[in-house]
Symmetry: C2
Subunit: 293 residues, 2 copies
């Protein structure tokens, strides 16, 4: 079944880091890491979720809204310069201040010529002990989006979005060949047994998005202990068959690099023609909360 | 986070077999296997896909329509008797003759008192070299269904449905605590390298349905070589975290047994409240074939 098609390689770089104390050192660090990734040939580079700060959602504290900034704004301005000088696409996960009292968990996409392309606002907002995101973030209202960058048409989803097949499906149907998931997920060190389950489920469901949609999935998580959470790293890139091309360690700062053959998207969908056979005529009840008789 | 809830155990039995030459020996064999499974405590028992025959869809041959039968009909009548005597729920995957020239790939559900509860008609029909199902089966028109049986509320999906997150979602939203997937999937022995990928993807995507929906998934596949296909067995049962409770061998006939705690469905959804956060307001474009701008 293997088609001997020409390859169309794009190199992805994911920056898995430990957070510094705040925005100034984190921005400095990420710019350095982007330059290192670019020097290693990365063409599309993604930060982890909310990279400018420690994961502040572990508590509900109005002071933390001070971390929010406009998008585009000072951080994207700085990153646009780097994108242009390094000729790389940058996906930057940031805390967006949209207006007084209206904040989002947002990812900005910057093209390889330094142009700000647009943003995705996290659609699914969690709320769990130590992940009090509903306190901070208005659910996104821009829908599921794709961005035509110099090197690939990509989609960006953020962390909790990972658990929703609908989010991946909608982004893939809109034409994304690669789904990026900036993430901040970890465990409570006092619950080590649950961690293995959670991590396995986390990787499984993201691989399933690659398989169901015939796309690449690139997930970038932070490492390090912050307050009561140990972030589990293990950023990875999966191909459209769900093969993990590279999986980072659970504890170290790392730049994850993988070469993705974009032609494999069409090739995989020819072999696994799921998009041909979707029963869209029968799916309308999926817009229900529950289906009660 | 573990809640100390009471358990509500149901034992599933999946009958992974090699096909005999045709309906008479296969029915005889499945009845014997159901009795053995029942003796081992199985309460809900599923056959593999199209268990009465070899997997005839490897070729397009109008003679094979002779295998089709009405549902309910002679095979379900025989199985209703077994269900009643053994006090087990039976899911029987059959070739349905609905009328002259209208055939479906259908699963019948029989309750533990021997009552025929209804049927599910395979919604997603594949068509691939050696899997020429579009020649034989009209796509299902009964939608995604659940069945309240004596032991659990269950959903049945069939083989190719496995690859569609929408099918699992719709069946779970309708209240199924366990998704059953009668299956006939295998590889061409001349392509062993692809098999590992395909099998891994097949298990991954089904585990993802368990995780995304907080339900049990029970998948039952055939074994043995038939014509150009080697069926890969490896029937399995996964819990709502995506843990595989039991995975059968790739070559041997086996009865897969696992105890499923139905209370884990609610417990898992409390810990992973995905159904709380689905953005049903933003999902309507999922009813599109592709999303073009």
């Amino acid at each position: 079944m293997k088609n001997k098609t020409k390859k169309n390689i794009v190199r992805i770089g994911l920056i898995q880091t430990r957070s510094e104390s705040g925005p100034v050192p984190n921005l400095k660090k990420i710019i350095l890491q982007i330059k290192i990734a670019a020097a290693k040939g990365a063409q599309i580079i993604s930060t982890q979720e909310l990279f400018t700060t420690p994961y502040f959602c572990q508590t509900e504290n109005t002071q933390n809204f001070d971390f929010a900034e406009s998008i585009p704004g000072p951080t994207t301005d700085a990153l646009c310069k780097v994108a242009k000088s390094e000729k790389v696409v940058i996906i930057a996960s940031l805390f967006e201040k949209r207006g007084k009292g209206v904040y989002h968990n947002t990812a900005a996409v910057i093209d390889a010529d330094g142009k700000y392309l647009g943003k995705y606002r996290k659609m699914h907002i969690p709320d769990d002990p130590a992940f009090y995101e509903k306190f901070y973030f208005v659910p996104g209202d821009l829908g599921f989006k794709t961005f035509q960058t110099k090197y690939a048409k990509i989609g960006v989803l953020i962390c909790w979005d990972q658990w929703f097949p609908e989010a991946a499906r909608l982004t893939a149907l809109a034409g994304a060949d690669i789904l990026f998931y900036p993430t901040a997920i970890g465990w409570k060190p006092e619950e080590p047994q649950q961690t293995a389950s959670y991590h396995a489920a986390w990787e499984t469901i993201q691989k399933s998005h690659a398989i169901a949609n015939g796309v690449y999935v690139a997930s970038v998580n932070r490492v390090g202990k912050e307050g009561g959470l140990q972030f589990w790293g293990q950023s990875f890139i999966a191909d459209p068959f769900g093969h993990v091309l590279y999986r980072a360690s659970s504890a170290k700062e790392e730049i994850v690099l993988a070469d993705c053959d974009l032609n494999l998207v069409e090739q995989t969908r020819r072999e696994w023609p799921f998009l041909r056979d979707r029963r869209i005529d029968a799916y309308p009840p999926i817009l229900s909360r529950l289906i009660e008789k």
